[in-house]
Amino acid sequence: MLRFVVRRLLQLVPTLLGLSVLLFLWVHALPGGPEYSLLGEDATSEQREQLRQSLGLNDPIWMQYGRFMGQLLQLNFGVSLSTGQPVMTEFLNRFPATAELAITAMIIATAVGIPLGYFAARYRGRLLDTGAVAGSLIGICIPVFFLGFILKVVFAEHLGILPSAFRQTAGLDATHPTGFFVLDGLLTGELDAAWDAFLHLILPGITLASIPLAIITRMTRASVLEVLGEDYVRTAESKGLQQRVVRGRHILRNAMLPVVTAMGLLTGSLFAGAVLTESVFAYQGMGSFVYQATQTRDYPVLMGFIMLIALIYVLVNLLVDISYSLFDPRVRVR
């Protein structure tokens, strides 16, 4: 097991190296440059040239890449051009927000998606099944910003029962030892703050969950349908095993492998979805920050954040691979 993990970790090195090259070329191929957002509309071309010079943007691209990698090896991601703060500080400020949102979305997606997919398969062709299939199709198709907008209009503006923006009510005095607001409230005993943060997670959480929920529902349904046709399920049922045991040990456990794989791959789409969701809900996380960085050509933020997100992405998928062995011990041997 340990060798498996170590080998997989070593495989990350070329992956990330390749990614860094591609990312670097892409970011620097973007037209325009940070000097425009930094100096505003009225700066002269000499001032802009001077800034390009001082940023080293006129050096050959390989030299800039070398400098970037040199810094990266010292875990130095540079300074955000638009906020003047170290990229790592900005990342640590915003990562908990997005992680909290993504975890909420994933909990919603799995807690609803797996049972829904399972029962849709068990009652194939009935109303529940048709509803789940149609619903998941809508979930995949509906644009995130539109769903967010509708939810806000209904629950925040008309019903007034849920907040429409932020991670907690503005001006609420709360301490944040971890940056995960709900957890912070529970840890510090500020239950009001935890509840407040929880309410703020509901609408963006549902919005962000829409696509993974739909995918997980469909994957579970398809996977369970396949397993239901297997001989061992029929055997288990016919020898009179309890429903609970058949469902847990024989059906779900076998059906979970593709679903778990999909969940790992979905972390990528969660981070992508967070960009829009966070903008719509003025939710202060990484997504909205990266979005702004593309607007202002904030190279260090773009490079740093995307590298860190990529690192998280491959690590999550490594975890997924490890978790296979829990569902299917045969994987471990290889």
Binding site: G32, L81, S164, Q168, T169, A170, S279
Partner: protein, 556 residues
């Protein structure tokens, strides 16, 4: 089956209970009076972007100034709701005939947030600190406005820096400060009102004397204290008490020993919501109580729904630029005139821009001294435009026209809609348009380098001086305009060095006439950038320069 159903029912019950609780929380009504609310209920204002520093000196952006204006006072300021320069920490001021010696009579009984007394020495401590900055502080990204208004430093460390125009600051009496400059500049006295020159406690200056900017040149990290509310102290109605960067929230609290009228609402919170629509929905949902840069299309619906959308005065200009180098036809004055006649600017003002907008006759609003009633005006006349184009030999003119996407500017709320009207007008006059849409980050470089023949851009003034408008574009050759007109360049150079306000006024008026005859571009409109507030607040007086003083706000 029974177990399954009961599980589901239990889940539903929990959800329903959560919903009821949430409703209960949200529907707690405040029956308290406005005065009680002032002490207990924070006022939350949403800004489109983050502030960058709590020491205003390093900043160049409106979002930082929106915050620091509440914390610091400057020597001079603009009158509430207007653009006249009035005293702030200076009760009164006078200049010598040459405009090189500025004497300020200061307010007495002013205390800094850290308990220090304000006096002339405090003023000089600030100005001398800025003048004597060294090293990376001399980078234009760290001391932009100092360099723009006062030139270089006591010891310029780079040949690229402008020569210093600032000479000295003397505390002549306890409450009389004298600031001397080398030669008059049209940037004064306006420069003394710039938020970047907020007066900070001398104790803070002393404590932070060793502060440094870190990071790479061009990508500096501002000194640590500038990010720490506890480390800064001004004389303003509010003092900074918190800056939660993760929540993009700055918390200000009423300063009880403020020398002027105490702030109405005790706690003021400025939060960032970058998305325009999210700002509007947050106001509608009651999560915030005011926000800036309202989309013109949202103004009427917001008013109808009972929100307050007070009208700001105008202090900006939107123009259509004619880049002469990029397109030969535009070098021909008759073509520029023809295009100007082709555009129905009144329609843009009536259909797209917010209430209170007006057609511009020149490159600055009429609230500025030096605006001229005698400039040539180019009335909308499609037939005349056609005839003039034919006359100039460009009956079948084909031209490229750029506009920005994904952006709204205070002077240009809906670029695509404005572009569409102008395009249709020009096509009606027989011009073929090759349109080019560019995201803002690409738009500025391209138009700046002269890459677009026609393009839309504008400007919001920093302070009440015509040079801040005209000098920005026409003081010297600029690749964005692509023309060399020495009469205009020299005229602006002369007015920049003329200390007599009366003479300057005449000179500006003549320049405006000259510029509108030369017609480097077509000024389109002056439009007030909209700001909105919830119904339950008495909002601060709104300012044409977007310099609202939030201490004026109270709960109803």
């Amino acid at each position: 089956m029974r177990t399954k159903r009961s599980h589901a029912m239990r889940g539903l019950a929990v959800l329903a209970a959560a919903g009821v609780l949430a409703t209960a929380c949200a529907s707690e009504r405040d029956d308290s009076s406005g005065e009680e609310l002032n002490e207990t209920k924070p006022f939350v204002f949403a800004a489109p972007g983050d502030a960058r520093s709590l020491d205003a000196f390093y900043a160049t952006d409106g979002e930082t100034f929106r915050v620091t204006r509440q914390i610091y006072n400057t020597l001079l300021k603009h009158e509430a709701g207007g653009s006249e320069i009035v005293g702030d920490l200076a009760k009164s001021w006078e200049q010598n005939d040459e405009g090189t010696v500025w004497t300020f009579e200061l307010e007495q009984d002013v205390t800094f947030h850290d308990g220090e007394k304000f006096n002339a020495e405090a003023v000089c401590a600030n100005y001398d600190r800025w003048f004597n900055l060294t090293g990376d502080f001399q980078d234009s990204n760290v001391s932009y406005y100092w360099q723009k208004i006062f030139g270089g430093f006591a010891e310029n460390e780079s040949d690229d820096l402008p020569p210093a125009n600032y000479k000295s600051c003397t505390a002549e009496e306890e409450f009389k400060a004298v600031i001397e400059v080398e030669k008059y500049s049209a940037n004064l006295p306006g420069g003394f009102s710039m938020a970047a020159f907020g007066i900070m406690s001398p104790k803070v200056i002393e404590a932070q004397a060793a502060a440094e900017v870190t990071g790479e040149p061009g990508a500096f990290e501002f000194p640590e204290y500038s990010q720490d509310p506890a480390a800064v102290a001004g004389t303003g109605p509010y003092r900074a008490v918190g800056w939660d960067k993760a929540s993009q929230e700055i918390k200000l609290e009423r300063f009880d020993e403020f020398w002027g009228e105490a702030a109405g609402i005790k706690t003021l919170i400025i939060k960032t919501i970058s998305d325009e629509n999210a700002r509007k929905q947050a106001l509608e949902a009651g999560d915030i109580h005011g926000y800036d840069l309202v989309a013109p299309a949202d103004v009427t619906p917001l008013k109808d729904a009972g929100f307050q959308v007070p009208e700001r005065g105008v202090f900006n200009v939107l123009y259509l630029a004619y880049q002469q180098e990029g397109n030969e036809a535009l070098e021909d004055l008759e073509v520029r005139q023809a295009l100007s006649h082709a555009v129905d600017r009144q329609r843009i003002v009536d259909t797209i821009l917010p209430d209170g907008s007006e057609v511009a006759t020149q490159f600055m609003p009429d609230t500025l001294t030096g605006w001229s009633p005698d400039v040539t005006e180019y009335e909308y006349d499609t037939q005349k435009a056609k005839d003039m184009l034919a006359d100039a030999g460009y009956a079948d003119l084909e031209i490229d026209f750029c506009y920005p996407t994904e952006v709204t500017r205070p002077y240009m709320p809906a670029p695509r809609d404005i572009f569409d009207i102008i395009k249709a007008d020009l096509e009606a006059a027989g011009v073929t348009i090759n349109e080019e849409a560019l995201p803002w980050g690409d738009y500025i470089p391209k138009t700046d380098a002269g890459g677009c023949s026609l393009y839309l851009l504008g400007w919001t003034g920093d302070f009440n001086e015509a040079y801040n408008f005209l000098g920005t574009w026409f003081g010297h050759y600029d690749s964005g305009w692509g023309f060399r007109n020495d009469d205009i360049f020299d005229g602006l150079d002369a007015v920049a060095n003329e200390p007599d306000p009366a003479k300057r006024e005449t000179m500006y008026q003549e320049l405006n006439v000259e510029i509108m005859d030369f017609l480097p571009g077509l000024p389109i409109s002056h439009s007030p950038p909209s700001i909105a507030f919830s119904a339950d607040v008495n909002p601060p007086t709104v300012s044409p320069l977007t310099q609202e003083d939030f201490s004026e706000a109270t709960w109803k």
